[in-house]
C-alpha cells in the first residue's frame, strides 16, 4: 500500500520538476528585455482604469455552496458502491432514501431559483 503511494510521490516529484525545468529553460534561452510598455497590463492596447477588482456576482458563491453539498454526497456514495454487493435490503432502502432526499434538495434549489444564471 505504502509502496503504491511512494510511487505516486515519486511521480509527483517528476511531474513537478518537468514543467519547472521547461520554464527555467525558457528563462535561459529566451531574451529578457522588459520595459514599461511590455510589462503593462494587457487590455488590447488601452490603458487599464482602476484596480483589477470588479463587482462579481454572488451567483459564483451559490454555485460553490451547491457544489459542496453534492461533493460530500459523492464522498458518501462511493463507499456504498464498493459494498453494494453485500448490502441488505434495509441498507439499500436507506441509501435510496439518502439519494431521494438529495434529489428533493436539488428540486428545492431549482424552485428557489438558485440554479438560474441570469
Amino acid at each position: 500500500m505504502l509502496t503504491q503511494y511512494g510511487f505516486i510521490l515519486i511521480l509527483s516529484i517528476f511531474a513537478f520538476a518537468l514543467p519547472t525545468a521547461a520554464v527555467m529553460m525558457g528563462w535561459f534561452l529566451g531574451p529578457r528585455r522588459p520595459d514599461a510598455v511590455k510589462t503593462a497590463t494587457y487590455e488590447s492596447g488601452v490603458e487599464t482604469i482602476g484596480d483589477t477588482w470588479v463587482q462579481f456576482r454572488a451567483q459564483y458563491y451559490l454555485i460553490g455552496l451547491i457544489f459542496l453539498i453534492f461533493d460530500v454526497e459523492v464522498i458518501f456514495l462511493f463507499p456504498i458502491a464498493l459494498a453494494y454487493k453485500h448490502l441488505s435490503l434495509f441498507s439499500v432502502v436507506s441509501t435510496i432514501t439518502f439519494v431521494v432526499i438529495l434529489l428533493l434538495g436539488l428540486l428545492l434549489e431549482w424552485r428557489k431559483g438558485a440554479l438560474e444564471w441570469s
Binding site: M1, W53, Y61, D71
Partner: protein, 137 residues
C-alpha cells in the same frame, strides 16, 4: 554526560517512512504558518490549500487513503474555492495587504509571560522528578 544523552537522545537514523513524513510535516507546518503570517489574503488562501494537501499526504502515509482522497475532494475542491469566492466578494481584500496585528501586543506579552512562567515551573518540577528517577536507577 549520561544524563544529557538520556535527556536529549540523538535522533535515530530515520526509516523510509519517517524520511517521507518529516518533509511532509515541515511543508504542512510552513504552509500553516503562512496562512497566519502572510499579509496577502489570497496568499493565505493558497497556503491553506497547501496545508490541506500536506494533511492529505499525511493521511496517505497513515494508510488512510480514502480519508486522504475525501480531504482533497471536499476541502481543496469545494471549501477552498468557497473561501476564494468569499474573498473575491469582499471588496478591497483581494489585492493589497491586510494588517496581521490587532493592537493587542501588551495583552499578548502578559499572556506569554504568565504561560511561560507556568510552563517553566512545570519543566523544573518534571526535571527534578527525572533526576530523582535517574538517581534511583
Amino acid at each position: 554526560m549520561d544524563i544529557i544523552q538520556q535527556l536529549f537522545p540523538l535522533p535515530p537514523i530515520p526509516t523510509l517512512q519517517q524520511a517521507v513524513f518529516i518533509p511532509l510535516a515541515l511543508f504542512t507546518a510552513v504552509c500553516a504558518l503562512l496562512v497566519v503570517l502572510s499579509p496577502n489574503l489570497f496568499h493565505n488562501a493558497l497556503a491553506l490549500v497547501g496545508t490541506l494537501f500536506g494533511v492529505a499526504g499525511i493521511y496517505a502515509l497513515l494508510e488512510a487513503e480514502f480519508l486522504a482522497i475525501s480531504q482533497i475532494l471536499v476541502y481543496v475542491w469545494s471549501i477552498s474555492t468557497l473561501i476564494t469566492f468569499a474573498i473575491m466578494l469582499s471588496r478591497g481584500m483581494m489585492f493589497g495587504a491586510t494588517s496581521k496585528t490587532n493592537k493587542q501586543a501588551g495583552t499578548a506579552i502578559d499572556g506569554i509571560v504568565v504561560i511561560g512562567f507556568i510552563g517553566w515551573c512545570n519543566f523544573v518540577s518534571a526535571r527534578s522528578k527525572l533526576d530523582v528517577s535517574i538517581a534511583v536507577a
